[in-house]
Symmetry: C2
Subunit: 989 residues, 2 copies
């Protein structure tokens, strides 16, 4: 300990003093305190029990009847994998079995939850919370108000939030006039502070908040903020911007800096923002902020926190294969917190420090640093959470520090996300608060965090060698710029003419077709030579001729070709996306997702082919048997326009890696994008003839390709009518045909989401909206029916209708666009026809009209939601392939399942529910190809969600799955008798 610095020694001695003060404060336990500590003790004993208990608490506000409460309690807690205290299961089952005792359970659960919530939530509204504020001021501790609320899914809800903030400001401005001033709270070293402090969550002010659409988001949020800030400034209040998930970080900082540089607010010092020390970027953000403040000339406040979304951030990063933005070890977060504290104390003239922590070590370190650096008293503010940090807040206040409590208020239901997050935080093993009762652990609690510890390498859950390609993170401004640059650059290349490629040679044809930008039909995006029947025949001959040598090329070499093709896509990523935006009107994220999926297909099928190339052996003494796969023969690939790269690529590279040369027929609407595949394959070294590129008119060359006896495989994705006719034609064996043709067909869908009575409506509305309107509903996986059970129907319809009307319809090139135009005039007319049908069959409850200035400039349609359409009517039975949805009501899950199942398709489906039993039943009985539970039903990822449906949705093959390649292969068995003259080697050489 000889090297311990003076600050460290002071930290330890202050820490010990603070700890004993905290313990003194903790003694003052109330009834709810006891209830709460029992719950914590129970839930931390068993991780599984904790999870199930919190899931129950999460669902509780949605459970209206005693029956429902009892049922959910049993479903969550009485199960073999949850260990309840002795007798617990019997007690619960007994209570759940009769009406009166069910009412008791209902009462107890809701009362318990309300008591718990009351510990963390100060009241339903600002007025109710004032009682708690006044109590705190007597400690003395001041406050900042936090308005809890549900997810904002529509502009109606966003405006309601804005109104609540405005009301809160008026209420507190009025009420606070009665409060006597308290120097310890309102006299900082650098001057007076407002009595009233309000925290604002920016995402609650705008339903289309999206960091990628940075400009649109900044503009909209600033508009909504303006009256709030004006009122606060006029009343002399303090406003702090809260920080949410990492995705929102950059855009939140940008809004903060832009709005507080505006003349009206540029001189306002009573404003603050949050920095999260768990972010790896925390220190860099502080430096940037300090530099901005220097330019602004007026200081701002910084609330330094550790961060409350750690689980979420690590999960999302893992799912997206993005770098994890947070420190992976708690000790690194603690170390970062201390470094940030020191930075703030060094820059307190610019950045007013507020140290928000329940960790005694962290607070003591701030105290010791302030003393060592000669920072004047009451410069540093300490912040704690209402209901959690009160003992430490009181202890700091008793030492004369300036302490502020973060006080949430609002309805119990919308506050549940906050409540569960608090419960988790308090039951986590790393939680400081829980440990502080343990006298012997003091030294450990106060120990300096080890900043040299490196985060462990991320581990993968599965044993697969394949790793998904991460999508571009458009929350990062650099990526937004790259995309914009790519869009700018292709501008001059518009009108590019796509050639035909046969046996490695570029060819032209007499028929050149133009493709117009669906977002702005005045512009010709690309042209393509459409192949003649003779050219189709030549392509078939080339593929046929290339077959033997390509079949005999080693698996390794074929797999490497795919990996190099993926690298080509990666190189030209933004360029391809930009063309996709222009050629088919695919918005940024979806265009990039399309490229990422193409990359995934290449890498996944390469790994799969390597896996399948290991023969399955059955060796006996004297006899060796192996089962392996051989190429099937030339393949025709007929692709759709909606995933113009990914689906074409997936089908093609599966065929190629299996040893089959291909004829690629890209969609007529997406020849330029399809041509990127041909270019990438060639750049990767694909031999001439192995990939032949044949843009053309399906009706003209399709039959030639499908019927030719040289073709062994036809892979088709598209409409049911065309798919079934291909299956029919391919079943005819023609003269000279060697193989019985294999047809792989992915067809349409009429996909439904079931919303259970106990669903989390925040998630259900957002997920359904994304499933219906993403890429204007032009995905075979898109949702076109929503079936809502029981009481959830009214609020769901209400919120979804409003959310629908809040969508932004616009040019696909604009990152703010939610709903781009559809692909062509035929599509537009068809969708408009279905909107008319919807109006005849039912009632329109939400629609975003096409903005007047866009009408006639592109193939825009109005996203629309209908109710009261008959389940067997046209709107509920026919594939619309546009942003149109019918919402149906079901009394029970039985009825919902029957409706969901009542079409000829079986592609995707969804369920939002918090009932384990219902989830289990829907998993079993909602027999679609891809079922999604508690998330949107689009966006299947290669390997993770092998994609494809049964019934009239396709032949049941699943792209991106373990059985897909087999369709391009023929199994063979070789048996060798290795016994000679009665002797045999025992093992194969």
């Amino acid at each position: 300990m000889s090297t311990t610095s003076g600050v460290e020694l002071a930290t330890l001695s202050r820490g010990k003093r603070l700890l004993s003060e905290v313990r003194r404060q903790e003694k003052k336990g109330s009834f709810t305190e006891i209830f709460y500590s029992r719950l914590m003790a129970l839930s931390t004993r068993d991780e599984k029990l904790k999870i199930e208990l919190f899931r129950f608490v999460d669902a509780l506000p949605a459970l209206k009847s005693p029956e429902s409460v009892a049922r959910h309690l049993l479903e969550y807690l009485v199960r073999p994998d949850v260990s309840l205290p002795p007798g617990g299961a019997q007690l619960l089952m007994g209570l759940a079995s009769t009406g009166p005792s069910r009412s008791l359970l209902h009462f107890a659960s809701h009362t318990g939850a309300r008591l718990m919530a009351g510990r963390f939530i100060a009241g339903r509204d600002g007025v109710e919370a004032v009682k708690e504020i006044e109590r705190l001021r007597r400690v003395p501790m001041t406050f900042t108000m936090d308005l809890l609320g549900e997810a904002v899914t529509s502009e109606v809800e966003a405006l309601a939030y804005q109104k609540k903030y405005l009301d809160l400001i008026e209420d507190l401005a009025r009420l606070s006039q009665a409060w006597p001033g308290i120097d310890q709270l309102e006299k900082a070293s650098y001057g007076p502070l407002p009595k009233v402090n309000v925290s604002v969550k920016l995402s609650s002010l705008y339903s289309r908040f999206d960091p990628m659409a940075a400009d649109a988001t900044v503009k909209a949020v600033k508009e909504r903020l303006h009256p709030i800030l004006s009122a606060a400034k006029n009343h002399g209040l303090f406003v702090n911007f809260d920080m949410e998930q990492h995705d929102f970080c950059t855009v939140t900082n940008r809004i903060f800096r832009e709005i507080f540089t505006q003349p009206e607010f540029a001189d306002w010092a009573d404003v603050g923002i949050v920095v999260q020390a768990y972010l790896k970027r925390a220190e860099a953000d502080l430096i940037e902020l300090r530099n901005w403040v220097i330019a602004r000339g007026v200081p701002v406040h910084v609330r330094l926190v550790k961060g409350a979304y750690w689980d979420f951030e690590t999960i999302i990063a893992a799912q997206r294969h993005h770098p994890v933005p947070v420190w992976e070890k708690k000790t690194l977060t603690d170390a970062c917190f201390e470094r940030c504290t020191e930075f703030l104390l060094d820059n307190w003239q610019h950045l007013r420090p507020a140290i928000a922590s329940h960790n005694v070590r962290s607070s003591s370190k701030a105290q010791a640093l302030a003393e060592a650096k000669g920072v004047p008293p009451r410069t540093v503010e300490y912040q704690v959470l209402f209901g959690m940090g009160e003992p430490i807040g009181r202890a700091l206040a008793a030492q004369g520090e300036r302490v502020r409590t973060y006080v949430p208020f609002g309805e119990l239901l919308p506050g549940m996300a906050y409540l569960v997050r608090r419960l988790l935080e308090n039951s986590s093993n790393d939680s400081f608060i829980r440990k502080s009762g343990d006298q012997s652990a003091d030294d450990a609690l106060l120990a300096e965090p080890n900043s040299s510890a490196l985060p462990p390498p991320a581990e993968r859950g599965s044993d697969a060698v394949f790793v998904n390609n991460p999508e571009v993170d458009f929350a990062i401004p650099e990526n937004q710029e790259k995309m914009q640059d790519a869009l700018d650059q292709i501008q001059s290349a518009l009108g590019f003419t796509v050639p035909i490629v046969i046996n490695g040679k570029r060819e032209e044809s007499a028929k050149v077709i133009e493709r117009r930008d669906p977002s702005a039909t005045a512009v010709i995006v690309s042209k393509a030579h459409f192949a003649s029947v003779a050219q189709a025949d030549a392509a078939l001959a080339a593929a046929s001729a290339a077959f033997p040598s390509w079949r005999d090329t080693s698996t390794k070499e074929r797999a490497e070709l795919l990996r190099r093709t993926a690298e080509q896509f990666e190189k030209r990523r933004f360029e391809i996306s930009a063309w996709m935006v222009r050629e088919v009107g695919k918005p940024w994220r979806e265009a990039d997702g399309d490229v990422a999926e193409a990359i995934d297909f290449c890498n996944f099928y390469a790994a799969e082919m390597e896996r399948l190339s290991e023969p399955r052996k059955r060796n006996l003494p004297g006899e060796w048997n192996e089962y392996f796969y051989d190429a099937r023969g030339p393949a025709v690939i007929i692709a759709p326009w909606n995933f113009p790269l990914a689906i074409l690529c997936g089908m093609a590279v599966a065929a190629i890696v299996a040893g089959n040369p291909v004829i690629l027929k890209p969609s007529e609407q997406a020849c330029r994008v399809g041509y990127f595949l041909q270019e990438a394959l060639e750049a990767a070294g694909c031999p001439a003839g192995v990939s032949n590129f044949l843009p053309g008119d399906g009706e003209e060359i399709g039959p030639t390709l499908v019927n030719d006896p040289r073709v062994a495989v036809i892979a088709f994705t598209g409409s049911k009518a065309v798919g079934l006719s291909i299956i029919r034609s391919a079943s005819e064996v023609r003269a000279g045909q060697r193989e019985i043709k294999r047809v792989i067909a992915e067809l349409g869908g009429k996909n439904a989401i079931i919303v259970d009575e106990d669903a989390d409506l925040d998630e259900a509305v957002a997920g359904a909206l994304a499933s219906v309107a993403g890429f204007a509903g032009q995905k075979c996986s898109a949702c076109s029916r929503i079936i809502v059970i029981g009481d959830a129907y009214e609020p769901f319809c209400h919120r979804l209708g409003e959310a629908m009307a809040s969508l932004i319809v616009g040019n696909a090139a604009d990152p703010a666009t939610n709903v781009p135009p559809v692909v062509d005039a035929d599509s537009q007319a068809r969708i408009e026809r279905y909107i008319e049908i919807g109006k005849q069959e039912g009632t329109l409850i939400g629609q975003k009209a096409v903005p007047p200035e866009l009408i006639g400039t592109g193939y825009y349609v109005a996203p629309s939601a209908f109710i009261d359409c008959p389940a067997d009517g046209k709107l509920c039975q026919e594939e619309v392939f546009g942003p149109v949805v019918a919402i149906l009501k079901a009394a029970t899950l039985d009825e919902a399942l029957a409706i969901a199942d009542g079409t000829i398709y079986a592609l995707t489906g969804g369920l939002y529910s918090r009932s384990p039993k219902n989830i289990e039943r829907v998993r079993r009985e909602f027999r679609v190809g891809n079922l999604y539970i508690n998330r949107k039903i689009t966006g299947a990822v290669v390997d993770r969600q092998p994609f494809g449906g049964a019934r009239m949705s396709g032949v049941g093959s699943k792209a991106g799955g373990p059985d897909y390649l087999q369709q391009f292969l023929v199994p063979r068995t070789i048996t060798e008798s290795v016994m000679r003259r009665g002797f045999a080697p025992t093992e194969e050489g």
Copy 2:
């Protein structure tokens, strides 16, 4: 050592004496001795080198040109996995590169092999061998002559052997007159012994030697033996029966006892038989023999050996899943040998003992026992092998013992099997002879064998849980009796009327069809109610109604149903086989194999479904994904008559275990046998409606079944024409259809065997014959073309033609039958038509005419082999489905492959070759569904040889393979977001 018995002490002291005498004798090395010991030293250093060297030696006699020798030497020896002595590879490659040095290699190899052969083979014929015999007599050691020869594949060859034995007897009788008598050799304690002793291999006397056809085999062999034995007896010679593989053991003993009980030979004492101590049954056989001798009243000789087919017996038993007939540990064989020795010495009055061993311990033990038991001198004979056991023989002779050498003679080529067996024996690690040079190991060499050591449990090579069902071993007389009993018992049940079963209820119909015994068409075997279209519709309705609940039945339960079904088959095994014999004319072994395959399908698909029911998981933090399989829907099963139980069962239980109810349409010719499946399923507890049994006329009810919209899967095995029409019909989507139909079609073949120039013709002729004529060629896997390369053509054609003419055409119920009648009059007419075509297109070179007494009594056809038919002619292009084959000549492997590939089919294929390069190339380029190397091309076994072809032979699915069940299943993916409020469990519960 205090407990060591007197005999044991005497054994050890005699052993030491004998050992030093052996070493003295070994010193007398010749030139070939040195060459041989170098080869042994080289080959025992490296197991891989040894195997390759012996494989080369095995092929050598077939290599006519220097180029061929050089090529094979390089292919076998110069490869990464064989470690040659330093510089060896370079030397070989250098020598192989030019004409003159290739000639040197050729010369050296053949000379080397000849020298080696000369060590073990006394001469080309009896006369040549006499020089060696006379040399041995001077030692003094006497002899027994062993006539080496190639496998007997035709009666021409069998008769040639008979002639050779007769010649040998005459030659030796004459030559031996000049030999002076030697008391040590010809004066046994019990009387004089003939100077000439001849060993006879019974299997060489009859080309259709088959222990199952015991009566026919015994009769034929006795006929051939008669002149041999008469001549030998007349000349006063000694005849010993050799013992070959275990399968032949029982029938050989029977022939020995029967023929030497015949009045002509009943008093003859100069006869002997062999007992193999490595057989677990050796002691039991000795007891039986002794009891028979007591009854006969005249003693016989017994040669006690260890046994030379140990590798072969263990391999064959493992392949057939039969119990291993030999001791699995060498020490147990040694212990058994000593117990048998003791038994012989106790019974020397009945069984004259000949102790044949190169193990000093074994011989010394016999000496010590003889002494202890007071057995008179020269009672026990000692036997050693020519070229191997001479030192020990000389040592024993020097001690005054009576010693006989086993002297093989014959051509080098036919003797190669013997030579390689000897080489192996001498290079094996357990070989005593090799060790005996090592003085320090004397104690180990003389140690008492540990008879308490138990054989280790048999180990399986693969990791599969599935185990193939063993076929009935018809070499066991009890099994022959059971089969005969079953045939007798069903006699009274003939005329059984097969009902229709719909939804568990027996139904009749207006149309009852009779089925006649193809072996005796006067007999009605069975009748069947043929379903009407209305009944087909009712069956479809039943299957449809049963679908939901059967689909939802657990995998475990469905799998167990299959296992219980297999048990039902096992219970009624002989009964089912007997009906199969009568209903479709399937011979015993093939009928039993059919039942065994049905059992395998049940157990294999049960295990496969359990394997597939484990979902493939891709769990990420916060998101759980699983990929699994669901039932597809009602299945129609349309089966052929040639595997009336196995194929019907395989297709049906695959559908059933996957959760799909079935409509079973058995073949019109095999309704009774098909009905066994329905009965077994019901007895196993299959719910009503899950299996509906619908005998009927394919043309009448087929379209109803195939076209019905309720059908999801059609599994068909049969003709190409019907199969393709089903594929076509099923591709039409009809009103009310939910699923795009999946058709599984196994169609025809035009299968070829390629016979390489260096092929082992013994094996090639036998394998081709089995592939062509087994079950009268009525297998889709049967061989109908043989393509012979270069110089192998003439001898192959010659031998195959003769072999063909030696086949026994007869009633399927007769175990001696090789070629049963074909299934019906249509088949008979078709095959006869193709025989006519063969005569027009080419030349008939071998045919077994239908015996006159059978003509008109059944659907008999004459198995026929043709040459000179054009490869693109009718006989070489069209499926005959009968015992007719065309032999084609090819100059090169290229040409052979081109011919083989030149049909529209790709089902099975074969190659006989001893060129590693050619084998490798054919594996790659002979692209059939099932390729067999150096064995027959029929008889695929479930799991070991998944069966099915591509091109016009089928859709590429393989029955009994890992991908088969998937065709009856639909894959589904379920994705569940398990993140709530930003938290998630880390592992699924």
